[in-house]
Amino acid sequence: MTVHIIEDDPGVGDSLAMLLGQIGHSARVYPDAESFFEAPPPSSSDTVIVDLGLPGLSGVQLIRWINGLKKPPKVIAITGQSNRNIMEMLGDEQPAVLLRKPLTEELLVSHL
C-alpha cells in the first residue's frame, strides 16, 4: 500500500511522510493536486491523505475526483479549519475520514 499525501505545507507533508515511513508504509508527498495528477493514479488499495486547504485546485475538488475513480482508494481528509468551515467547504462531498490538525500518530494509524 502506498500513502499519497497532498499537502501544501512542507513541514506537515514531510513529517507525515517520515512518520508513515517509520510505521512501514511507502509515502509520497505532493505539494498540490496538480502535481498529484501528474503521477500515476492511485490503486484501490492505496490511501490518499488530502489537505482541504490546497492552493489551486481545492482539496474538496480533489476528493470529488478521487471518489469518481472506478476503484477509488481510501481518502483521509486533513484540515486546520474550523468545524463550520469544513461543513461549508465539503457540502455533499464527504470523505471517509476527516481529521483535524494537529494530527497525532495514534489518530492517524487507527485510520490506515
Binding site: 468545524n83 468551515n85 500518530e105
Partner: protein
C-alpha cells in the same frame, strides 16, 4: 452672436449700484457692511436667511446683535483697538467664529473681513459662510470611522483567534509528527535508547499541551454562530470606498469603481465583509502613496457560482519572494500594524465559503487582490451532514 459689452463697462452711479445690488442679492455667502462705529449699513439676502433678520430690522444697529454675548462683549474693544493702532487681527485673515440667529441659536461661521475707505468714512465688509453643513459632514465622517473601528475590533478578536489557531496548527502538526517518528526510530531495533524515548515522549506531551490550547481557543471562537444576512454588495462596496476615501482625501489617488447596479445580494456577515474590503482598499491606497501614477480600481462581478470583488492598484505589485507568505500571520513587511490584515481577511473569506487570493502584478501595474464569495451560501440552508467528524484527541 456678438454683443456690445462696452456699455456694461460704464461707471454711471445708477448702473454700478444696480450691479452691486444684484451681486449682493445673488451671493451665497452672507455679506454685511458696517461703518467705523460698527453700525450696519448693508445686509444682503443671504444674511437675512442666515440670521433671521430682515435688512430693515438691522440697518443702523450695532453689528453686535449678530454675535453671541461673549463675542458681542469684546467687539467694541476689537474695533477701537484696530482704529487706534491699525493692528490687523481679523482683516484679511479670516477665521472661524460663532454667529447668533434672531431666535438665539448660535452657529459656526467662517468670517472674513475687508476694509474700504469711502467718501463716507471707513467701512468694513464682512463675508460669512455657514459652517454647519461642513461640520455635519465632518461629524458624520468621524462617527462612521469610530463605528468602523469599533466593529472591526470586536470582529478582529474572533478572527484573529481563528486565524492564529489555523496558522499555528501547521507547524504544531509537523512537530508532533516528527517527534513521533523520532520516538519510533529510537525505540526500534535491538537496543532501544530508553533515555531518548523518554525525552521525545516529553516533547510530544508538550506539543499536545500546545495543541490543546489551540483547540480551546478554536472552540471558544467557534461557539459564536456566524451572522448571515442578505447583503447588497454594490452598496456595501460603495460605502467602504466612501469611508476609505473620506479618511484619505488628500492623497490625489484616482479611484475607479466598476460596480454594476444589478449585482445580486449575497448571504454574508456585512461587518466582516466590510472589514475585508476596507482592508484591501487601504492596502491599495497605501501601495500607491509614493507612486507618480496613483490608481486604485475596484471591480465587482459574478462568475459562475461566485461573486468576485477585485481590488487592484498601480503600486508596483507584490515582490515574488513575498507572495508565498503574504497571507501568513505576522509576516508583513509594513512598519505599522501587526501584519494580520490579510490573514484575517482571508480567514473571513474562507469562513464565508470563499477565498482571498492575489495576482502579484495586474493590468494597472500593481497587485490585484481577488475576493471570491459564493452567491449561494449552502451552509445556511442545509443542516449539517450526518457524517460524524473524527475529532482531535482533546475534544
Amino acid at each position: 452672436m456678438r454683443e456690445d459689452h462696452s456699455r456694461s463697462m460704464s461707471v454711471s452711479p445708477s448702473v454700478s449700484e444696480a450691479r452691486l445690488a444684484s451681486v449682493l442679492g445673488t451671493a451665497v455667502d452672507g455679506i454685511v457692511v458696517m461703518d467705523d462705529a460698527a453700525r450696519i449699513i448693508l445686509f444682503n439676502k443671504a444674511c437675512e436667511t442666515l440670521f433671521g433678520y430682515s435688512a430693515e430690522e438691522v440697518r443702523g444697529k450695532n453689528v453686535k446683535m449678530l454675535m453671541p454675548a461673549d463675542y458681542a462683549h469684546e467687539h467694541d474693544g476689537y474695533l477701537s483697538h484696530y482704529l487706534e493702532t491699525g493692528e490687523k487681527r481679523i482683516i484679511g485673515i479670516g477665521r472661524e467664529v460663532r454667529g447668533r440667529h434672531s431666535d438665539g441659536t448660535e452657529f459656526p461661521i467662517e468670517l472674513s473681513v475687508g476694509e474700504a475707505a469711502t467718501p463716507e468714512g471707513r467701512q468694513f465688509i464682512g463675508i460669512m459662510r455657514d459652517l454647519r453643513p461642513r461640520k455635519a459632514v465632518e461629524r458624520r465622517l468621524a462617527e462612521a470611522q469610530a463605528q468602523l473601528v469599533n466593529m472591526t475590533r470586536i470582529s478582529a478578536l474572533d478572527e484573529m483567534g481563528a486565524a492564529i489557531a489555523h496558522e499555528l496548527n501547521q507547524p504544531l502538526t509537523a512537530i508532533m509528527l516528527y517527534l513521533q517518528a523520532a520516538r519510533r526510530k529510537a525505540s526500534a531495533g535491538g537496543a532501544p535508547d530508553e533515555k531518548l524515548v523518554e525525552i521525545v515522549d516529553k516533547g510530544v506531551r508538550e506539543a499536545e499541551r500546545a495543541s490543546q490550547i489551540i483547540q480551546r481557543m478554536r472552540g471558544f471562537v467557534e461557539k459564536r454562530d456566524p451572522e448571515r444576512r442578505p447583503v447588497s454588495m454594490a452598496s456595501l462596496i460603495r460605502e467602504c470606498l466612501e469611508l476609505v476615501v473620506l479618511g484619505d482625501a488628500h492623497s490625489g489617488v484616482k479611484i475607479f469603481a466598476e460596480i454594476p447596479d444589478d449585482l445580486p445580494e449575497i448571504s454574508a456577515d456585512p461587518v466582516q465583509i466590510q472589514q475585508v474590503l476596507v482592508n484591501l482598499a487601504r492596502n491599495a491606497l497605501e501601495a500607491v502613496r509614493e507612486c507618480k501614477h496613483k490608481v486604485v480600481r475596484v471591480r465587482a462581478f459574478t462568475e459562475g457560482p461566485d461573486m468576485i470583488v477585485s481590488v487592484s492598484d498601480s503600486g508596483g505589485g507584490v515582490p515574488p519572494e513575498v507572495v508565498p507568505n503574504l497571507f501568513r500571520a505576522f509576516s508583513g513587511v509594513k512598519r505599522r500594524g501587526l501584519g494580520l490584515g490579510l490573514t484575517i481577511s482571508r480567514s473571513i473569506a474562507q469562513n464565508h465559503g470563499g477565498d482571498l487570493s492575489v495576482e502579484p502584478l495586474g493590468e494597472d501595474g500593481g497587485a490585484v487582490f481577488v475576493l471570491r464569495l459564493p452567491l449561494d451560501a449552502r451552509a445556511e440552508e442545509t443542516p449539517a451532514p450526518a457524517v460524524s467528524l473524527t475529532k482531535g484527541p482533546s475534544e
